[in-house]
Amino acid sequence: MTSPSVLDVEDLTVEFRQSRRTPPLRAVNKVSLNIAPGETVGLVGESGSGKSTIGRAVLGLNPVHSGRIHFEGRDITRASARTRRGLSARLQVVFQDPYSSLNPARTIGQTLAEPLLAHSRTDERPIGQRVAAMLERVGMPADTADRYPGQFSGGQRQRIAIARALMPEPRLVICDEPVSALDLSIQAQVMNLLADLQRDLDLSYLFIAHDLPVVSHLSHRIVVLYRGQVMETGPAGALYTFPVHPYTRALLAAVPQPDPRAQRAQRARAGQRTASSPSAAASPRGCAFAHRCPHAIDLCHSERPPLLPLTGGRAAACHRSTELHPLPAVPQSQPHT
């Protein structure tokens, strides 16, 4: 780490109690990640990978079992409600569902003013002016503030939700699947907006999504999760073009290419591999992906592989990564700064 991180998550573990008889479900298992100022870290995984849980734990919406979360150098793992209130100006969120994330009974103006309630004001301008300026910044018409969420489409609501998050001028925004519910043409608009805002306001993003192409387009670095564990991490471009971990490779190979020829080629390659659904339960001691991995050996079932650093700022949690997919000697690309 060259610059001090905005967010530093270390060995984060989150458990959910189910019933009295069954043991707690470990949704997140010793995950570490850090985000530098102005950086976007993409958190990618399928349902049940614990990606949203990590975001909610950072926001204090889920209790932490063990591990530590530092925000701007302060330990906020078990921050009190008062500390959280202080943090809220610097740490914000955009959720996936633009329908549930805005209260239908309050005007957009009221919703946008909400994040400012908890804080003593530093900005001299009246709230109304700031709301109007922010709405304009996210590309919404001027009369938006007086209207209700019901009058807007999904894409417009997501712009409003982004505006709400940016009102108190945060440093880090947790984006929890912000574009998954949107149509293709709208998705591109919102992704561009997020990128513009980051450049202009020097924001950091924790960008959570299940769609690897989307994540890799917006992120500088990517963390791939499977069943609550980090499988692979590295600079976005390198990881996307040359994935190391068998799970990342499976994930990439599963996305059909929007190009018939490329897709035919991908199918031809996939033909040799066996795409198997999880049939047996994963061994609690071994690699979480072992039961689905075409390359699994006995060691994979008996011992959990550590996250081993590779060249080019990358790391993978796989016993056979160096042997199966040796990285080229020169790293393919450098992480953005």
Binding site: E46, R56, L59, G60, L61, A81, R84, G86, L87, S88, L91, Q92, V93, F95, D97, Y99, S100, S101, N103, P104, A105, R106, T111, E114, P115, L117, A118, H119, G150, Q151, S153, G155, Q156, D183, S185, Q187, A188, Q189, N192, D196, D211, L212, P213, V214, H217, A236, G237, A250, L251, A254, V255, P256, Q257, P258, D259, P260, Q263, R267, A275, S277
Partner: protein, 624 residues
């Protein structure tokens, strides 16, 4: 409140309740007869100008007795309602918002009380405190409160899960601020509804107690007591049942209707949330009305399925207009577009199952030469056996109360007309076909015991039971995880190749089209805007929408550069313009685009596009 008053039923109910309350309180001003004044000369009389509602067996004026009797009802409702609201609101909110042991204790106690027949406990109280209606009504308020507690608790819990509450927490709002800003406002109407319903029950119970002789003691009037009086003279003066019972019934009705009106008004208020995009009949606008301009389509040889000029309306609003395309036997066709473009409605329209009470207003669906729109019997035969269907959400596509094997067997027996044993064998074959390694175990599972991918395989097996010639798959992979999605796509490909079945796949995912389809139909705002072979569609789109949609895909994005976007959004059906529906978002649009409807053109053989500038696109390529 304003919304309640806009409903005639709400106004009537409220008016009756206000009238009764005022009349009861102002009884001495309305009638000159005291409730106890006897007039033995006019016993059991019908309505006269002197006694508007007649008299009872002691010649007492019934109107006066109804009005004075209403006072005890009013008092009883007040007492019971106060207790009901005090306990219900406090504990309901506390239980839902605080959770923990408060919640545990409240829920347990409420459940215990809820199961009790309240009237019996009230009778016990009355046997202990004879004639003490106050005690009875307070008890009844307590016994009624669990209902309110339960409702408020579950409401609070569900609102607490809303993301805007999470956003408010992240914004640093305090508990009481969240409660006041986000939770209480949504509770008010709920509380009013419950209070009105409870008041209705209290009125009945109070009258019931009076009827049983446990309320106001004679000769003092009460509504229940009046009914009891009437029951004494049933054979001589059945008329008395009317003045004694009807005010009671009307009051209870008014309370119930008021509750309904408040609830409907509240639902209307919140409903704007998700249904805003759905047009309502009130806003019906004639959109380029003559949709009957039969476009002369290039005559291809009639395929397996041929859709001709299909138009569909939902709630009087056209949502699909003049859609035509064909599918040849064994062909895989992709219908692509964003939400609200009418692609799912078209797919379901083929099977005569337009959602939301919509209907096909025009056009033909020819399957093997028979028009399914005009022949319900042919349609019934075709469903499942000729054309089968797989839906988007596999987890809700199967009946949750029957085992998988049972549902598959039912489909098999319906189509194959075979005995149970043969059906069982067919089911195993079907499950093998969709790659279930252990079909014997799957048949005994219930849908909730399957993962999303497994459920979708079962749904596909179900669709294959009738050996269809065409499978319609409506976004079959959208709800699934990426790796599972790949498995389902592979399965569909294999099935299509092996069985020679044609597939119509509705999707918004270009990857799915590239993977599975031979030909693509692109839909925008209820119309077909482009149709071509898949390779051509991808390499040389001839409609700006197709080009824009392809370019906006993050798969093809260049690192560090913004994604090419289409500005604006898909217009809702009531905002469809007369001219090109894409014009407002299109870089090429000019006057020629907006003045009149744009017909489908065929600039190249086998290629259709609904664009005025198709020739230009053909020469210059689309601006990306």
């Amino acid at each position: 409140m304003r919304r309640v008053l806009r409903r005639p039923v709400g106004v009537l109910a409220l008016a009756w309740l206000v009238l009764m309350t005022v009349a009861t309180l102002a009884a001495p001003l309305i009638t000159t007869h005291g409730p106890l004044d006897q007039d033995l000369g006019h016993v059991l009389a019908g309505p006269t100008s002197d006694h508007l509602l007649g008299t009872d067996n002691l010649g007492r004026d019934l109107l006066s007795r109804v009005l004075y009797g209403g006072r005890s009802t009013l008092l009883a409702v007040g007492e019971a309602l106060l207790v009901f609201l005090l306990i219900g609101v406090t504990l309901g909110l506390a239980s839902g918002f605080l959770g923990g042991w408060v919640d545990w204790l409240t829920v347990r106690t409420a459940d215990l009380l809820f199961a009790l027949p309240g009237i019996i406990i009230v009778l016990v109280v009355l046997s202990v405190f004879p004639g003490n209606l106050h005690a009875a009504m307070i008890t009844f308020g307590v016994l009624g409160s669990p209902g309110l507690i339960r409702i408020l608790r579950s409401q609070t819990l569900s609102i607490r899960e809303e993301l805007y509450v999470a956003a408010a927490k992240v914004a640093g709002l305090k508990h009481h601020q969240i409660l006041r800003r986000h939770i209480l406002p949504r509770m008010t109407s709920m509380v009013i509804v419950q209070a009105a319903l409870f008041a209705a029950i209290v009125v009945t119970i109070q009258a019931g107690l009076g009827f049983l002789g446990l309320g106001a003691q004679p000769p003092h009037p009460s509504w229940g007591g009046l009914v009891a009086d009437a029951s004494q003279v049933l054979d001589r003066a059945p008329w008395m049942l009317i003045p004694s019972g009807v005010p009671l019934v009307l009051t209870v009705m008014a309370l119930a209707l008021l509750g309904d009106a408040v609830r409907d008004a509240a639902v209307e208020g919140w409903a704007v949330t998700k249904t805003a995009a759905v047009p309502t009949a009130a806003h019906a606008v004639a959109v380029d009305a003559p949709a009957t301009t039969e476009e002369e389509l290039p005559s291809e040889e009639a395929g397996l399925l041929s859709i001709r000029n299909l138009s569909v309306e939902i709630g009087g609003i056209p949502v699909v207009q003049d859609v035509s395309f064909q599918i040849a036997a064994g062909e895989a066709l992709g219908v692509v577009g964003e939400s609200g473009c009418g692609k799912s409605v078209t797919a379901l329209g083929i099977l005569g199952l337009v959602p939301g009470g919509g209907r096909i207003t025009h056009g033909q669906v020819l399957f093997d030469g028979v028009d399914l729109v005009r022949s319900p019997t042919a349609l019934a035969k075709v469903r499942g056996a000729g054309i089968a269907y797989v839906s988007q959400e596999p987890m809700v596509a199967l009946d949750p109360t029957f085992m998988v094997g049972h549902q598959l067997a039912e489909a098999v027996r319906r189509h194959q007309r075979c005995d149970r044993r043969a059906a069982r064998r067919h089911v195993t074959e079907l499950l093998d076909l969709v790659n279930f390694p252990d079909s014997a175990a799957v048949v005994r599972r219930y849908p909730h015991q399957l993962s999303g991918g497994m459920a979708q395989r079962v749904a596909i097996a179900l669709a294959l039971a009738g050996r269809p010639k065409l499978l319609i798959a409506d976004e079959p992979t959208t709800a699934l995880d990426v790796t599972v999605q790949a498995e389902i796509l592979t399965l569909l490909r294999t099935l299509q190749a092996e069985t020679g079945m044609a597939v119509l796949i509705v999707t918004h995912d270009w990857g799915v089209v590239a993977d599975l389809c031979h030909r693509a139909v692109v839909m925008y705002a209820g119309q077909v805007v482009e149709q071509a072979d898949v390779e051509e569609t991808f390499t040389r789109p001839l409609h700006p929408y197709t080009a824009g949609l392809l370019a906006a895909n993050p798969h093809l994005a260049r690192e560090g550069e913004p994604l090419p976007t289409i500005p604006g959004t898909v217009p809702t059906p009531r905002d469809w313009p007369i001219g090109c529906r894409f014009a407002a978002r299109c870089a090429l649009s000019d006057d020629a685009c907006t003045t009149q409807p744009v017909p489908l053109a065929e600039p190249l053989r086998g290629r259709l596009t609904r664009c005025v500038h198709s020739q230009r696109l053909l020469v210059e390529g689309t601006p990306a």
